[in-house]
């Protein structure tokens, strides 16, 4: 399978009130298309940090991290902020635990936002179709404040996949949901990612969710 994300000797430290703290150290990783990798570990173990590094939102302190596409591999720390943003908007989809949607855009507009950013009007029909498949048809013109937690996460999934990215990053996507909604959202996310043949890196502390992934990467404090 085609490589999407790879890391070699990746390290990241944070300074806080207690001094310097090593969050990631010497991490090596390969993620391929169609693969679902669960990052399992307690809070503060570095799961979100890895996702943010993969999205190019943070700079690594040590090692290298590459994002691979049809143009070759891109070492994220070698790119400036602007190029990283361009690469992220085209190749990455991100789902957060909460506050996933722009509150001043409707459901439809939130999902269309990545297509506008990537100038991909050709994908509008498919993105809206996916939104309907996720059960959001009645809420297309609603603002996020009018949605339930589950509906918001389904919209966030539709938004993360709208531009059909190579890599989807999900940070505790069900952490804010009840058990039934959590199962439903995870199932949908898995289905859609597999349908697109994208790679999924999902951070969770839930063993049941992690067990459904192709591979588990365990993080400890």
């Amino acid at each position: 399978m085609t490589l999407v994300l790879s890391a070699a000797g990746l390290g990241k430290r944070f300074a806080d009130g207690r001094g310097d703290r090593q969050v990631l150290a010497d991490l090596n990783l390969d993620v391929r298309r169609g693969e679902i990798v669960a990052l399992l570990g307690p809070s503060g173990s570095g799961k979100t940090t890895l996702l943010n590094l993969a999205a190019g939102l943070l700079d690594a302190d040590a090692g290298q991290l590459w994002l691979h596409d049809e143009n070759g591999r891109h070492e994220l720390s070698a790119l400036d902020v602007r190029r990283r943003a361009r690469l992220r908007r085209a190749r990455v989809g991100y789902v957060f635990q909460f506050f996933n949607l722009v509150p001043t855009l409707t459901v439809r507009e939130n999902v269309l936002l990545p297509l506008q950013l990537n100038r991909r009007p050709d994908l509008v029909g498919r993105a809206l179709g996916r939104l309907q498949a996720l059960g959001m048809a009645p809420h297309l013109d609603a603002f996020p404040e009018a949605l339930s937690g589950g509906e918001r996460q389904r919209t966030a999934i539709a938004r993360a996949l709208a531009h059909e990215p190579l890599l989807v990053l999900a940070d505790e996507p069900t952490g804010n949901l009840d058990a039934d909604n959590a199962v439903r959202v995870v199932t949908l996310l898995w289905q859609e990612v597999r349908a697109l043949d994208s790679a999924l890196l999902v951070a969770t502390h839930d063993e049941r969710i992690a067990s459904q992934a192709d591979r588990i990467l365990r993080f400890g404090r």
Partner: protein, 833 residues
């Protein structure tokens, strides 16, 4: 220490920049209030000094055409019989002019050692308090307490006793006659028994002495001074203590009604008798209004800082709520910090205000500086500083806290009621001439309230419709950015209102100043159209005129003089000159001014409700109004007549100014050479080129309005801070959205673009409100405030030069506020990642 307060204090320590901004805002407000109070008090004291002694207890003066002692005694009998209610004292008065000489040293003054003096004679014994006369017991001087004394308004008993002799007079300080000096009139000599600060060029005497000095019969009386019981007096004094000059903004109380048997009396308020003092008090009122504006600015700063601090601490406050802290406890901790800020700012503002007032007084010259000696630090200013500093902080912090906690709900009907009241206030303020300067200011305030009530409806208009269908998505970031303005009106509306107000004030003032400059420049070009202007003693000027008329380069020499007179009983400056076609043209009159015609200042026309073609009475003769003229800067109303008319009015002509016109072919050098020769020949005269005078007048004009310009610029800077604080609060609310957009690959440049457009939209909304409001303010300043305060109207001219800078400045402020980085202060959201 209370832990909640401790937590708040630590938060402030982590927010040094916003704390400093808040502190500076309140310091600015307190400094303005203290400085305005101090300057106002000094001006009031110096004004008291120009109140002539016979008016120290007066509230009105009354006169009737051709009146004599019989009229006075008839009125007095009616008063004693109880037919003139509300009057506590009355005294007869005569006035007129004489040619006097100074037997001791007159030669040094004039070639013929004589000069025209104004004589005022009063029955001092009828005045309240004189020589134990208790007729007016309980009647306090109408002027500010503390100003009485031999050198103040009311005369000392010993001075009055000395005045009752048959050969004594009291001299105004401007005459330069020391105590003990003698002055001769018609061969009789009079001793100066005291010197007072009052009206320029006046000798005061007992009524009998004055009648003799003026060559009048013993039953001559010019007018009657009335002291009325003003039921509102204590309120007026209190208002003036609160804000010096405030009572001048209120309409004058109604004149006492004189009984039917004394029909034909004209009664005038003291303000009309002392036009220069009324003029100065109007200036004071405007100063006071500016001081109040600075407090409003300070409140706004505090409010915005409180809003931003509340946003930064939102999660902490929510957690404390969960822990069981009551709203009152949270409010107390939050507001206590602002109280401490207010105390610190009050101390600094008080010190700065006193210092500023001292410097300004020093710059304004001896009158205000010497007024300081009578005053010193008073408790009122300390109280005002404390109330201003603490009040602003308390009100700002409480308003922000209550709004944040959703406790500040105004019922829907209240907004409607406020609009209706504002509309009513606007109509009354503009329509009721009697509402005076305060009515004009009320109209400005009401127009502002009405305009600012449009802020929320405008924000609501930004309900941008959602994208429909499956077309190509466009402008989603922009939509989101603009919808922020619609979604968070509570964060933005106060700042937006303040920005609109700042732009409107800048615009209104800029248009008014530009209109004033245009009219003033026109007036200067018309009036100062000659080449030289010469001032000096009468004899010197006469010799200079003769010298000049023999020069080939001189086309014309014009002589001017003036005298104090009464027009329809009102004190005026009567100016006279040869009003040929050229001279009349300077005032917009096509033909030479005939005998019996007069030009009157707009202020006089307004006070006497006179139009062109109507008549007014001077020295028993009726003159026809041929034209009105603006008379900017004149402290007293003016009447201009031809010399022939002045002679008919019995005026002793004395020309104390000359203007010289050269033939047009004369070069600048030739003109300068002639001026130099003239000055050399007559060193005692003051020779100035009209061009230099014009430049000097314009420089003074610009200097006068420099403070106004600085204040309006300050308002814009504060508005910039306000809108910056509001947009920063919006950014704090939206920090998660920004992180989300960043995760979607939105670049910093794109985010900046959205921010810029959102800020520009904010600015545009402010402009939408500010443009009509600013023009309306300018119109009110030109056509309502100026006429009511100073008696002149300005022609409002709306020019791009005046219009664009405030508009562009406001827009730039809004855009800058959006682009400036958020302050790097460690708040509760800024924990390590």
């Amino acid at each position: 220490m209370n832990l909640l307060l401790r937590s708040q204090l630590r938060f402030v320590a982590r927010s040094p920049w916003s704390a400093l901004a808040a502190l500076l805002g309140v310091v600015l407000g307190v400094t303005s209030v203290v400085a305005v109070h101090e300057i106002g008090t000094r001006v009031e004291r110096s004004l008291d000094r120009v109140v002539p002694p016979y008016l120290a207890y007066a509230s009105h003066v009354a006169e009737r055409p051709g009146m004599n002692a019989d009229d006075y005694f008839a009125l007095r009998r009616a008063w004693r019989a109880g037919a003139v209610p509300g009057i506590s004292a009355m005294a007869p008065l005569v006035e007129g002019q004489v040619l006097a000489s100074d037997p001791d040293g007159g030669a040094a003054r004039d070639a013929d050692s004589s000069r025209v003096l104004r004589i005022v004679g009063v029955d001092w014994l009828s005045l309240p308090g004189a020589l134990g006369n208790r007729a007016g017991a309980g009647v306090a001087p109408v002027t500010t307490p503390g100003a009485a004394g031999a050198n103040g308004s009311a005369l000392a008993t010993a001075t009055i006793a000395a005045l009752l002799r048959s050969d004594t007079v009291l001299a105004d300080r401007s005459l330069g006659l020391p105590r003990g000096a003698r002055i001769a009139v018609d061969g009789a000599s009079y001793e100066v028994v005291g010197v007072v600060d009052g009206q320029s060029g006046v000798l005061y005497a007992d009524i009998g002495v004055a009648q003799r000095l003026l060559g009048l019969s013993a039953d001559a009386v010019s007018m009657v001074v009335l002291a009325s019981e003003d039921p509102w007096r204590s309120w007026r004094v209190l208002l003036d203590r609160l804000m010096p000059g405030l009572s001048a903004g209120l309409a004058a109380g109604s004149a006492p009604a004189l009984p039917g048997g004394t029909a034909g009396w004209r009664v005038r308020a003291l303000a009309q008798e002392l036009p220069s003092a009324a003029f100065a008090r109007s200036v004071l009122f405007n100063l006071g209004a500016l001081g109040t504006l600075s407090l409003l600015v300070a409140w706004f700063l505090i409010y915005q800082v409180a809003v931003i601090w509340l946003h930064r601490q939102r999660s902490v406050l929510e957690r404390l709520d969960v822990l069981g802290a009551t709203t009152a406890e949270l409010a107390l901790g939050f507001v206590a910090v602002f109280v401490l800020l207010g105390l610190a700012a009050t101390a600094v503002g008080l010190a700065l205000g006193l210092r500023l007032a001292a410097l300004l007084a020093q710059a304004q010259g001896a009158a205000l500086a010497s007024a300081e000696q009578g005053g010193g630090f008073d408790g009122v200013v300390l109280g005002k500083a404390l109330v201003s500093g603490l009040g602003v902080c308390l009100l700002g912090a409480c308003a922000a806290f209550l709004r944040d906690r959703d406790r500040l709900h105004a019922p829907r009907w209240l907004a409607g009621a406020v609009r209706v009241l504002a509309a009513l206030g606007l109509v009354l303020g503009l329509g009721l001439e009697r509402s005076g300067l305060a009515g004009g200011m009320l109209a400005v305030l009401c127009a502002t309230v009405l305009a600012l009530s449009l802020v929320n409806p405008l924000l609501r208009l930004l309900r941008i419709p959602g994208v429909r269908g499956a077309g190509e998505p466009r402008g989603l970031l922009l939509r989101a950015g603009l919808r922020d303005l619609h979604w968070y009106p509570r964060v933005l509306n106060v700042a937006l209102g303040a920005l609109a107000l700042a732009i409107a004030v800048s615009l209104g003032v800029a248009l008014m100043v530009a209109s004033f400059r245009s009219d003033f420049t026109g007036m200067l070009a018309q009036r100062l159209d000659g080449d030289f202007y010469i001032r000096g003693d009468v004899a010197g000027l006469a010799a200079a005129a003769q010298w000049l008329q023999g020069r080939p380069e001189v086309r014309r020499v014009r002589s001017y003089g003036s005298a104090a007179q009464r027009a329809d009983g009102l004190p005026v400056d009567l100016g006279y000159a040869r009003f040929d076609t050229a001279e009349a043209a300077r005032y917009g009159v096509a033909a030479a001014l005939p005998v019996g015609a007069a030009l009157i200042s707009e202020r006089l026309a307004r006070t006497l409700h006179l139009a062109i073609g109507e008549t007014l009475e001077i020295a028993g003769r009726r003159l026809t109004v041929a034209q009105t003229f603006p008379g900017y800067g004149d402290a007293r109303p003016r009447v201009l007549v031809d010399v022939a008319t002045a002679r008919e009015l019995g005026v002793t002509l004395q020309f104390d100014r000359l203007t010289v016109d050269l033939w047009p072919a004369q070069s600048q050098q030739a003109a300068a050479g002639l001026a130099a020769r003239l000055q050399q020949t007559f060193p005692q005269l003051d020779v100035q080129s009209q061009r230099a005078l014009r430049a000097q007048a314009l420089a003074i004009f610009e200097q006068t309005f420099a403070v106004t310009g600085a204040l309006t610029l300050l308002a814009l800077v504060v508005a910039l801070f306000g809108i910056y604080a509001a947009l920063t609060a919006l950014r704090l609310i939206q920090a998660p959205v920004l992180r989300l957009l960043e995760s979607q690959g939105v670049s910093g440049r794109e985010l900046l673009g959205v921010t810029l457009i959102r800020s520009a939209a904010t600015g545009a909304m402010a402009l939408l409100i500010a443009l009509p409001l600013g023009i309306a303010m300018a119109w009110m300043l030109c056509h309502v405030i100026n006429p009511r305060a100073f008696g002149w109207t300005l022609n409002l001219s709306i020019t791009p030069g005046a219009l664009l800078p405030p508009l562009l400045g406001g827009l730039a402020a809004a855009v800058m506020a959006g682009v400036l980085p958020a302050p790097r202060e460690r708040g509760v959201h800024d924990a390590a990642p």
